[in-house]
Symmetry: C2
Subunit: 366 residues, 2 copies
């Protein structure tokens, strides 16, 4: 179990990750709140709620349920939850415990940030994606129609507790999807973390506890370090967008139905490595190492039928686009990326065609 | 024309108030934004838009219209406006100019605070209420059903320009409604401001320019001073709630249809003065002076049919209530209030009955 501290403008909060992390909530000052509300999903809570309450020492909580899936990240669900909070007597000194994956975390933290102009929340992420990425750094969001995360705030939790035990009930595909974000963090983190990940990959995919302990905490640390230096995404934080520009366009092009988020990021990492090579920013052997890491996670859904023209049209809709210019995060080597805004359209198209020519059915899981 | 500076956590912004304030926008760095969007109401913009653009030196703006009235302060309208911004190419470096009264300001600033996790906005308030109160201090909000301002953020504008000229087209009732907030600020401000207001009242109600210049800037300064000492309503800022606890309950009891907001605050000020006297916190002559100021603005809609039981039930729904305890802001004298959380129910009921026994038809306008 490891603890990292994240500094925000107004306070510092701990991120605790490892087996038994929930128990550290016993030290959290729940007593100063008038009431605690758990935002969660029914199946997840049925499976883990009792253990969570025991371990954390919490007793009198009210649970508010959210349906699984990205569609819950909407203003409509926000409105419903706000009404429920009000009806159940939540006031400015209530606290929300966000028990779930990225949807519960993003939506619940947005709710916390706007209910009565902001109340406290804590994150109890239950997926790889949420543990390694979305629970850390304070970004909150709901979607607007097909536009993911268009509406949101910065509202960090007062504590993040990521217990590995809950991952045992995570489905294979969701588990694997989260690993693409781990790959992203390893590329940003540097050769040592990449090597650790490469060595652990076979056991990691079996959810082996030691492999999780070896890889996930350092992957979280990559994010913590970036956020500590640039909370509000002035610049450095944008590097976390690695693989996401292509990734978001692929998700959008397929109506968010074909890919799990991580799978789209997997394709995005492959594409951005190609782009880096084509722009001669990234050495081919480094590009190959990145691609190999992605491919060792196994086959990805096909992208053969998606036209390059459509992707080129969707790319500028990325939220990081400013004044019409896409902000590309391009690897220069493992452990170093550069933000580039002037990338020739031709190179972008060629990079996409490069990955279209790959045959995912050949990628044997590690 | 006067300028006050408001310090926030992250920047300082000027509040410019007086005749010709719009011209000071020529010094605002609009150039650093990729695009400017004006959020406004149709009638208002038809009447004043051209002059505003001339004076401010703005040219290429896109206007987004909001229907007048409190019902526009909803998540639904927020969703629609977000979609319009996205469609029209607003990005993270766009700026919103909020041209209107409290509805446009509260809703528009909330939109600015959550669109792509926060973009800049400026306030161009066009009503007394918005100029003296809601445009200053960074509170943003939408309503949830009947619960006013339940959902919102703190997101101050980068500049506030309150030009008096636009008040000339403000309807009599809206104008007068705003004056109740001016009375509130005068009570908080102290005897000098009260005296100034008492002396100016007859000409002020005729929208006399000199009377506006004499009263509104010092009334804004009361708010600026409080906000500068307590941006996030830890404590001091709560004093601005004077008259609003009863006021909100009255609005709620009548489905937001009977009173303009300021009128409900007018009744609220009368009630809280009575409560102060009953608790022996406020000397009777001071209470009378407060009541006289409210009554000189003319008759208020009747409250005879509203049962005390209903008001007592609605009072704790105030957002300032914590752990079930209403935070009462009670005047001790003109210029000094105290926040009290343990007020006997009997005294509250008696104060409400006191104002029910008043006969508003006897209040001749000053």
């Amino acid at each position: 179990m490891q603890t990292f501290n994240v500094k925000t403008r107004n306070f510092t909060y701990p991120v605790v990750i490892g087996n038994g992390a929930w128990r550290t909530l016993r030290k959290f000052p729940f007593r100063k709140y008038t009431s605690i509300f758990v935002i969660t999903e029914r199946g997840l809570w049925n499976r883990w709620g009792k253990l969570f309450l025991e371990e954390s020492g919490l007793s009198a909580v009210t649970t508010l349920l959210v349906a699984p899936g990205e569609r819950s990240k909407s203003l409509r669900v926000l409105e419903r939850l706000s009404g429920q909070l009000l009806k159940q007597g939540a006031d400015r000194r209530s606290c929300l415990a966000l028990f779930g994956g990225g949807v519960v975390g993003d939506l619940g933290a947005f709710l916390a940030s706007v209910y009565m102009r902001g109340i406290d929340c804590i994150h109890v992420p239950t997926t790889i994606l949420a543990q390694v990425d979305s629970s850390v750094g304070g970004k909150t969001a709901v979607n607007l129609g097909e536009m993911k995360n268009l509406i949101g705030t910065f509202h960090p939790g007062r504590m993040v507790v990521s217990d590995f035990r809950v991952l045992s009930s995570l489905g294979h595909w969701d588990f694997r999807s989260g690993l693409y974000e781990v790959v992203k963090h390893a590329i940003l983190g540097g050769p040592a973390l990449c090597q650790q990940l490469e060595a652990s990959l076979p056991r990691l995919q079996l959810k082996d506890r030691e492999a999780l302990e070896a890889v996930l905490p350092p992957a979280v640390k990559v994010k913590v370090d970036v956020v500590n230096r640039d909370e509000r995404e002035r610049n450095l934080r944008m590097t976390l967008n690695l693989g996401h520009t292509f990734g978001h366009a692929l998700e959008e092009a397929t109506g968010y139905r074909r890919f799990l988020h991580g799978e789209a990021v997997g394709w995005g990492l492959l594409a951005i490595a190609q782009l880096g090579e084509r722009l001669r920013l990234l050495a081919p052997e480094e590009g190959t190492r990145i691609a190999r890491l992605v491919q060792r996670l196994g086959p990805l859904p096909s992208i053969r039928d998606i036209s390059t023209a459509r992707i080129l049209r969707l790319l500028p809709q990325d939220k990081k686009t400013v004044g019409g210019k896409i902000q590309w995060v391009i690897p220069e080597r493992i452990g170093k990326v550069r933000v580039v805004s002037d990338v020739p359209r031709r190179a972008v198209a060629a990079a996409f065609q490069d990955i279209q020519e790959m045959d995912p059915s050949l990628w044997a899981p590690a």
